[in-house]
Amino acid sequence: MDGYLKEHPILEFKRGKKVKFFFENREIEGYEGLPVAAALHAAGIKVLSFSERYNRPRGFFCAVGKCSSCLMEVDGRSNVMVCVELLKSGMKVRRQKGKSQKQ
């Protein structure tokens, strides 16, 4: 939980309650209601998926649900834009490989 801004000269961050979720079967804590990508980056996880052909690591790019660079598998669903998918307690998040096979 080190990646969250604690002090800011102008902004005050209202965060939801602390919840546990899973990244690649590993338990992580994050704030409910923040995008999954924000919670992962706060935990130091930047690689969100691997490209279809060359297996290259990919991260987010636009952070506003437009570019599809951040597609991950969330609770068994593939192609979820985690920059706008909000974190819930117990969510299971996995790195997606290429187009993925899951529905």
């Binding site: 969250y4 801004l5 000269p9 995008p35 690689v47 490209s51 790019f61 636009c62 506003v64």
Partner: protein, 373 residues
């Protein structure tokens, strides 16, 4: 089309909602357009794909400048609050977390909201969909750590998470100058701002602020490679000649874990293609965009545009364009009113004052090429 549970949605069975004016996009332009149209008496709905209204304003921590009428001295995030409150007080429909997915025959739009597909038919539409950040092609540009500058601004100022510790920023337009300043506010190091031109692109005030803070702006340079195995560890930059070609032997490595791309925006005009509006390529205004007249009317008489979709500019001009679009969309439906005419005329006057600045010459020359009718 499927919803977020993977179920197939059937458009035909959803109930058709009818209204006067539908505004698509709840940023500064769309909110102002909706407010004006509603105040003039139209039945209005705003559709926005975010949980909160305000568009890009919600991440602007800097104070705006200009005149009092354009929220001078107010931070962008607070302007979002002022506009949202007015929307609430005027009491009209707002669809949050809703994405317009198509513009169909008979002027019906499809709207996806969570697990529902809604259909809406308005007598006039105001599109204020905004713009998306441009990408730059260079070696390893897909490495995690290469982010849109606006994307990092969202993560940092809306969610309170900074995705790195030391940044290199590519481009010195206003976004390329403001975001690094905000990174410093959040306690993040900024190694350098890289600009390919021989002068800074953005406003002098922003450039002066960032220079005072000790961040170098390296002119006549560009990025040629992102380095690192799984994530960005450094940026390789090179000097360019007068033709913007890299000069061999001038390469330099700058250690960083984030490379922020701030090289411009492109209008989001996909829905307007579907609606049959004429789109043209006008690089001065941001690329492919809907042609429109000074009433913000596109080549379709019932479709208006405002904000970055109509011209990549500032929030203050977006609000003025919103006023014109709101007033003129109302006029198309109900005929000219004294109040509506005054609002549009006043906004046009204020726009021409802002655009008379030498900084806006590029915009003015682009606008002169927007001759739809």
């Amino acid at each position: 089309m499927t919803n977020d549970k993977g179920q197939v949605l059937n458009f035909a069975t959803s109930k058709l909602q009818t209204l006067d004016i539908c505004v698509i996009g709840g940023g500064p332009a769309g909110l102002e357009a909706g407010i004006i149209a509603r105040r003039l008496g139209a039945k209005v709905m705003i559709i926005d794909d975010n949980p909160v209204l305000g568009g890009q304003l919600i991440k602007q921590t800097h104070k705006f400048f200009g005149s009092k009428a354009h929220y001078c001295g107010v931070r962008g995030v607070d302007i979002a609050g002022i506009l949202s409150k007015e929307i609430k007080d005027l009491g009209f429909d707002v669809l949050h977390n809703a994405t317009v997915v198509g513009y169909y025959d008979d002027d019906i739009i499809g709207v996806l909201q969570h697990d529902k597909l809604l259909s809406v038919k308005a007598r006039a539409y105001i599109f204020a969909t905004g713009a998306s950040e441009n990408m730059l092609a260079f070696d390893n540009a897909d490495l995690p750590g290469v982010y849109g500058a606006g994307a990092v601004q969202t993560m940092m100022n809306v969610y309170g998470v900074v995705p790195g510790k030391r940044a290199v920023v590519i481009g010195s337009g206003n976004i390329g100058l403001i975001v690094p300043y905000q990174l410093l506010q959040a306690g993040v190091e900024v190694a350098a701002i890289i600009e390919i031109m021989d002068k800074v692109g953005g406003y002098y005030v922003h450039a002066a602020k960032i220079k005072r803070a000790g961040v170098p702006i390296i002119l006549k340079h560009t990025i040629i490679q992102a380095q690192g195995r799984d994530c960005v560890a450094a940026a390789l930059i090179s000097k360019v000649d007068g033709e913007y070609e890299c000069l061999p032997g001038t390469e330099k490595t700058i250690e960083c874990d984030m490379i922020l791309i701030a090289i411009g925006l492109s209008p989001l005009c996909e829905l307007l293609y579907q609606a049959g509006c004429r789109i043209d390529y006008i690089p001065e205004l941001g690329g492919h965009m809907p042609l429109h007249n000074e009433d913000m009317m596109t080549t379709q008489k019932n479709i208006f545009v405002c904000g970055d979709l109509a011209c990549i500019e500032e929030a203050s001009t977006a609000i003025l364009e919103g006023k014109i679009a709101g007033a003129k969309a109302h006029e198309v439906l109900y005929g000219e009113t004294k109040q509506g005419k005054e609002i549009a005329q006043q906004a046009k006057r204020e726009l021409s004052i802002i655009r008379s600045s030498p900084f806006e010459q590029r915009i003015v020359s682009g606008l002169s090429r927007l001759k739809p009718h």
